[in-house]
């Protein structure tokens, strides 16, 4: 097992002919992900890399291929529309890589998907990978290894850093998932913790949080109440000044709320192993396995 994606995932790439979409589609195909279709309006009928059919609309792509997931690489202005189009085409999982989505667009996307019971990961996220099974998004496959640690992170490249540290220390992963750095996202820490707890191929969980909001605090409460597997966690932004948005739209300390110190304290209270720096992940995980 793994969470959210596996070898049965049949993926449509929305924006397959763009610069990022085409680059990462190649990488996903190379990794073995079942990329069954692409969508770019006006390029219906073409083939990507001579094998993946391109459609004008998601509805056509899903009808023709039986796809059950989509990944989105379209520009921010069109990304919310792309999510909604995928939702209407009734895929079970939508992964939105695009960053810069207006947050009000997200307030409209969330209930649309909730009504259809569709999982959204992101936006503004690196996607996810279940090593050896499937990769959806942009996490570099070369840094991953099959194994039994689950990883969930609000960040992109910081995720890679941790995966890299784990892999080079011989610790493989069941699924690595970046949930995104925006204030409103489709899948949160608790959703992932719940899935990892239920996944019998996951033995331990790494949580990479950051300043802003209260998701980590709520996740810590969830861990204390519901997660029996060992969890270790990190909070980025210990040196961030309050009131400034640290790149991610969601990474902002408002007044005295959402600081790294507060979140690390919540982790400690919940029995989560707290990393002082990314490299601590290896030691903390090894202690707990």
């Amino acid at each position: 097992m793994s969470i959210f994606i596996d070898e049965k995932t049949k993926l449509v790439v929305q924006g397959i002919t763009g610069r990022d979409g085409s680059f990462h589609s190649s990488q996903m195909i190379e990794y073995g992900t079942q990329v069954v279709a692409g969508v770019t309006p006006g390029k219906g009928g073409q083939k990507f890399e001579d094998k993946v059919p391109v459609f004008n609309t998601m509805a056509e792509a899903v009808e023709a291929t039986g796809a059950n997931a989509s990944v989105i690489y379209v520009p921010a202005t069109f990304a919310a529309d792309a999510i909604i189009e995928a939702g209407d085409a009734d895929v079970a999982l939508i992964v939105c890589i695009t960053e810069g989505l207006p947050v009000q667009d997200m307030t409209r996307v969330i209930p649309f998907l909730a009504e259809r019971n569709i999982r959204l990961i992101g936006p503004n996220c690196p996607g996810l990978i279940s090593p050896g099974k499937s990769k959806v998004g942009i996490i570099p496959a070369t840094i991953c290894a099959e194994g039994r640690v689950g990883l969930v992170s609000r960040s992109g490249t910081l995720t890679y850093e941790i995966v890299h540290q784990l892999t080079t220390s011989g610790i493989g992963q069941s699924t690595c998932i970046g949930i995104g750095g925006d204030p409103i996202i489709g899948t949160n820490f608790i959703d992932c913790l719940e899935a990892f707890q239920a996944d019998d191929e996951t033995d331990a969980i790494v949580m990479m949080g950051e300043i802003g909001g209260t998701d980590e605090q709520k996740a810590a409460e969830y861990v204390a109440a519901n997660v029996t597997k060992p969890v270790v966690g990190f909070i980025a932004g210990q040196t961030a000044p309050p009131g400034r948005r640290m790149g991610h739209a969601g990474a902002i300390i408002s007044g005295s709320a959402g600081t790294a110190a507060e979140k690390m304290e919540a982790f400690r209270k919940a029995g989560i192993g707290v990393m002082e720096r990314p490299a601590d992940v290896v030691k903390l995980i090894k202690e707990r396995l």
Binding site: V103, Q104, G156, I211, D215, Q238, P241, M246, G247, A251
Partner: protein, 379 residues
Amino acid sequence: MNLHEYQARELLKEAGIAVPDGDVADTPEAVEKIAERLGGKVVVKAQVHAGGRGKAGGVKLADTAAEAKEHARAILGMEIKGLTVEKVLVAPAEDIATESYVGVIVDRESQRAVVMVSPEGGVDIEEVAAKTPEKIFKVAVDPRYGLLAHEAMGLAFELFDDIKLVRQAAGIISKLYQVFVSSGASLIEINPLVSTPEGTVKALDAKLGVDDNELGRKPKIEALRDLSSEDPSEVDAREAGLSFIKLDGNVGCCVNGAGLAMATMDLVKYYGGDPANFLDIGGSSNPQKVVTALEIITRDKNVKAILFNIFGGITRCDDVANGIVTALDQTEIKVPLVIRLTGTNEAEGIKILEDRGLSALTDMDDAVEKAVAMAKEAA
């Protein structure tokens, strides 16, 4: 992006919300003229992106146009929280019966826009929320239906008893939500919303923060940006598509990804150094971004060493390497560079650097330790 009060009230006025008469000016003489037109009894308000203007002396009442001119002379050019006052708003001094608060924010928890009202207006709403949370009333708006008529009425009944005032307030709340949506706001506030002894409800002060991600499709809002009120390096960074925040240390940081950038700053601190900035070159970078990033970092004379920490994903290591090489071709960088490069197209990136005689590390801790050491050496 934050709007000035005078800009925000203009948007409210366009939406049909009652705001007092008044105008903006940047000279004491223009202030005097406006005050004359308004009958002399006016309030002169500094237009800066900072709270606590009143306490800082940036808001003054005048009984005559001449007095308004004097106040303007004092306020224009003054500094409030590090920001110079370039403009003042001149508005008639209003008779006030009650002061309330009305605001709309994007709420992370409910994943919705939340409309908030409080009969405790004219004061810091966060203080009200902390001390007397029962005096704040909220509705989380279902975006599929928008703010419903009865929701606006229900909130208005928390502010007033008299149905005439209730209906005015409900109208203002509904319109405020409309402006929130149409302007792509992340925060909009009327504080205070006042009622006059004659029974009119008006927006006496307005605050509007726009989601930066909306600006691309809202050219009219974007045009309201006041560059003079922002740090020039941050303006340049934004225009280049970079996310940059100046800090006080001496280790310049250039990182891809906000989380990794924060973790890098944290690690600089961990190894005894001090980050000079937060800088995220973003995903999908092109070489030119890296050039601009280096240019902005090196503007800061405190910077004694520059640390690149790149973990390729959607960002490709070769793009970053090309950017570094191009930047070095264009300008001489006088401080040492420590480059950490790994992930997508890592081999290609390292090759590009090596061809230019640069070397790259692949471990983050090694790179940070080295940069901290170099900055200390140079300091």
